[in-house]
Amino acid sequence: MSAQVDTTGAAAEDRVAVASNWRLVWWRFRRHHLAMASAVFLIVLYIVVLLPDFFATQDPERTDARQAFIPVQMIHLFDDGALAPWVPAIVGKRNPVTLRMEWQIDPSRKVRIHFFAPGPKWRVLGLFETNLHLIAPADPKQRIFLLGSDRLGRDQWSRIMHGTQTSMTVGLVAVALSVILGIVLGGISGYVGGKTDQVIQRLIELLQSVPTIPIWLALSAALPRDWTPIQVFFAITVILSLVGWTTLGREVRGRFLALREEDFVLAARLAGCSRARIILRHMMPTFLSHIIATSSLAIPVMIINETSLSFLGLGIRPPAISLGVLLQEAQNIQTLALAPWLLIPGLVVIVSVLAFNLVGDGLRDAADPYSQ
């Protein structure tokens, strides 16, 4: 019995012996099932970010006042036991008292839909044109509202696809900018030390002591009204990262200070390595995994920040679409009572933030395989 155990033990030992740091991190991360599931979800999310039009069923800007507040049309995969996807049709009836259109689901009428079917034309990453969509109605003139419509009759499903693109990109770009700022400034602070360190530390303290929401409000209000949505979008990311790099800067500085004292860093110095080599070859790889873990925990914060700003009307403004902009539609309690599906963008925010946090936690636990 133990002979068996011993040989497998030896094999495992050999496998571990030649495993690089990244492989050890991956082995530990893989054991974290919740984080793994979240990672898969995030991959899907970022495919949406890359190709929102493929997932959208219609043009997110297409308005039709006569099709406002249409409820969710559920997808049914089978019809009489055969695979034939459809959504129930909607019939509108005007309420004679309130004069408002009231929509009823009519399960007797089925709207056929197809997967991977042609629909409106769109450009793949702005490179070439296609008309392939994940879901498309069989009759191209028919509109379907998988997650209902808003007060202007825009399709919420399609808008969420585009809003996800904006919000997730803001999160990613803002964190990327913070990471660059954090590593450069924190690294200088930790490696150079002395006066430079003092100045950067005081700057971090100053930035951290400033109440963030009023600062965003002020900075966003200062953005010229006539900027295009793209310009506003970039301005918002820069604002978010200017305030967001401080935590990371601190962390990088601390790591640098600790690493400077490590024996293997001294060994490299005594071997005659240049400063650049010591930093790039010895110090950076040692805390890179931590930086990645910290960053993945910073992304959801950025997403929430963007959503809050846009919700308040100070971030990304219509006609650009972000999850925050979509939630603006749900600001009115009356609308909410009438069309609760307008809260779905909030659900998307919650789930993606949770996923980011779980992945970040998993990465943080896996980041240092030598801590055991």
Partner: protein
């Protein structure tokens, strides 16, 4: 072993660390970690540097390696091409070519290797930065180095986490030898190792020394280890050398009471020899506020009035035997009963 000119000649080495207070980092005092240390190391010999924690032995060795910058004194080193340079005053650019000649073996076999690099990269790095650009050449030399320290060359693609403490220490030695150094500073190289592995590493160091004509500065706290490997031993106490002598002479007749106390305090692995009775009382004073006169007088059982006021100088008591004690001439030989009992 030319008596003419030593390989390393340390004169009046000092390293002070400032004590700062408050927001403005005002300097309020100095920790005199190393305070005027003189010794020489001849080519091919092993000088043991012993003392308890905080005595400045590690700081002194780091100054010689120029891992830290000394506050004062000279570190005269005779280079491979015969020139004598003062390591204490060289700038980083002038120091870099000399780095290959002076290498270090670390105490902690776990912290001294980069865990994210394979043995090939860890051991091969000194080769790379000293001009061996071709990866194949480097691999050949690393294989040779691994063989030299008793490891299989096939291990070079493994990462340090695959090895035990003793094996890692061998890897650290291989890296130190990569640049074909002349002086090797070993900072407690066996104190983190298990007893059964300690002897292996000590034997390896002795063997490498004869084979490669290395000169060792061996820094350690364990007297029996230092005794085993050193030709001469320097004892430090509160930043100063208190005794320097050939190993035999030091153990036969320690001329400084601290050395004698240190020897008595070592627990002897023989239950028939009681070494823990009559131990040295008191505590090591802080190098920030050392006592007056002889630093050792508050703990010394031979102390006289003179010891409290007058700081003794390091004097040559017998040929090659230096001690910093007013009463060095009167110090008795080491307790013979211990020796007899241990041999029997």
């Amino acid at each position: 072993m030319t008596a003419a000119q030593p390989l390393l000649d340390v004169r009046g080495l000092q390293k002070f660390f400032p004590i700062t207070k408050g927001f403005l980092q005002r300097v309020t005092g100095q920790v005199r970690a190393v305070d005027g240390v003189d010794f020489t190391v001849a080519e091919g010999e092993t000088l043991g540097l012993v003392g308890e924690s905080g005595c400045g032995k590690t700081t002194a060795s780091r100054c010689i390696l120029r891992a830290i910058d000394p506050t004062g004194g000279q570190i005269l080193y005779r280079t491979r091409n015969g020139a004598t340079v003062d390591l204490a005053t060289l700038g980083p650019a002038e120091l870099r070519p000399l780095r290959a000649e002076i290498q270090m073996i670390f105490q902690d076999p776990f912290g001294s290797l980069n865990p994210r690099m394979t043995l090939l990269d860890n051991v091969g790095e000194p080769l790379l930065v000293n001009g061996v650009r071709n990866r194949r050449d480097r691999a050949d030399q690393v294989a040779e180095l691994l063989r030299l320290v008793g490891l299989r060359p096939e291990f070079m693609h493994r990462f340090p986490h695959a090895f035990s403490g003793g094996q890692r220490q061998r890897i650290g030695i291989a890296r130190a030898l990569a640049t074909n150094p002349r002086l090797v500073v070993a900072d407690e190289p066996v104190s983190a190792l298990d007893v059964s592995v300690q002897a292996q590493v000590l034997n390896l160091l002795l063997e490498l020394q004869t084979r490669l004509k290395l000169t060792f500065l061996f820094v350690a706290h364990d007297l029996s280890v230092v005794r085993h490997i050193s030709d001469r031993i320097a004892v430090m106490y509160v930043g100063q050398l208190v005794e320097l002598a050939p190993t035999e002479a030091l153990f036969d007749r320690p001329r400084h009471p601290y050395t004698a106390a240190l020897m008595r305090a070592v627990p002897v692995a023989d239950p028939r020899v009681r070494t823990i009775d009559g131990v040295l009382g008191g505590e090591v004073p802080s190098p920030a506020a050392p006592p007056s006169g002889c630093y050792f007088h508050p703990r010394c059982r031979h102390a006289e009035a003179r010891c409290r006021q007058e700081a003794p100088a390091l004097r040559e008591i017998a040929p090659g035997h230096f001690a910093r004690c007013h009463l060095a001439e009167q110090m008795p030989a080491a307790d013979p009963s211990q020796a007899v009992a241990a041999i029997s």
